[in-house]
Amino acid sequence: MAEHTAEHHIVPLKVYFAVFGALMVFTAITVFVAQFDLEHYWGPLNIIVAMTVATIKATLVVLYFMHVRYSSRLTQVIVVSGLFWLAILLVFTLMDYLSEPAGQPSWASNRKTIFLPG
């Protein structure tokens, strides 16, 4: 294991150019798709498509430009643990907020009942 990580891995140039090409194609896809009203089919579809494409792009950058695919297991575990903490932040907070009706501030419904008489 230690011997494996000690290897000095140099990513070949063609990998960098291929990743760059893929990033450009995905950018074009996200701009192109954003013009269509996918919400007509399902409310959050536009944002889901946009975030899926962005996540694919980010994964390509992390794996190849940032060499995580070729890094030590320890580095890989650290990267994944960071994403896990980010998921806790986002998911647990949004579970609370998304349980309230959309389109109005969270204090609006409470204010009437608590502070305003009648």
């Binding site: 000095h8 760059f20 996200t30 954003a34 975030m51 992390v62 430009f65 990267v79 980010l86 959309a102």
Partner: protein
């Protein structure tokens, strides 16, 4: 303890080998980037909550941003990530000339991004759309009046997120200037190049933040016609 068999230039005395030193540097940078991830994560969370609360303000506000300019900056930043990756490659090859060339290209692309951003910000100030000072001019070509406050929330998020991102770009430019200076002096060799590599990690991280900001801010209202 016996001293190391060979003294390697660039190896700090508290590390056993170049590989151990490099691994420590990489992990240290990744831990810093995770704190950055949580830092930006808080803003992305704020974006999600406000967007859920004020969907109309985000649709109207998104129309105020220029998709061509945002797209241009996306292209510039991804290209700069490529030149940075190539810089790391040539530092590993020990090619000083190409290392300096690609670091300089990355710096110029980063500065080009900031110039475009400057003109976008200036346009917002000129049109009374900076959410703090002189906000909103009823006579101007703004979204309908009823969206006033909700558009303001969107613009706060826009300035906070892109502003923090631009600040990271400025810091990145400073790092690149330092790297170019050191590379020209011949500090980096085939054996010792981890400063270039971990600075590259930082640069790519800032690129990733923009990869998410572009669709969330610029493209969110793109499918709704007849906006601004």
């Amino acid at each position: 303890m016996a001293e190391h068999a060979t003294h390697v230039p660039g190896l700090a005395h508290h590390f056993v080998s170049m590989e151990q030193q490099k691994e420590a540097g990489t992990i240290g940078m990744w831990i810093f980037l995770l704190t950055e991830l949580m830092f930006f994560g808080g803003l992305f969370l704020a974006y999600a909550i406000f967007r859920y609360k004020y969907p109309d303000g985000f649709l109207q506000g998104s129309h105020l941003l220029s998709v061509p300019l945002g797209g241009l900056n996306t292209f510039i930043l991804i290209l700069s990530s490529l030149t940075m990756a190539l810089g790391v490659y040539y530092s590993q090859m020990g090619d000083r000339k190409k290392l300096v060339a690609f670091l300089t290209m990355t710096l110029l692309l980063g500065l080009a991004f900031l110039v475009v951003k400057f003109f976008e910000y200036k346009e917002k100030f000129d049109h009374h759309l900076f959410p703090a000072i002189g906000f909103w001019n009823p006579a101007a070509d703004h979204p309908p009046e009823q969206y006033h406050q909700h558009v303001r929330v969107f613009l706060w998020i826009y300035f906070a997120m892109t502003g923090l991102h631009a600040l990271h770009m400025i810091v990145g430019a400073g790092i690149l200037i330092t790297l170019i200076y050191l590379a020209r002096k011949g500090t980096f060799t085939k054996e010792y190049n981890s400063p270039v590599e971990i600075s590259g990690l930082y640069w790519h991280f800032v690129d990733i933040v923009w990869i998410f900001l572009f669709p969330l801010l610029y493209l969110t209202g793109f499918h709704v016609s007849g906006g601004h």
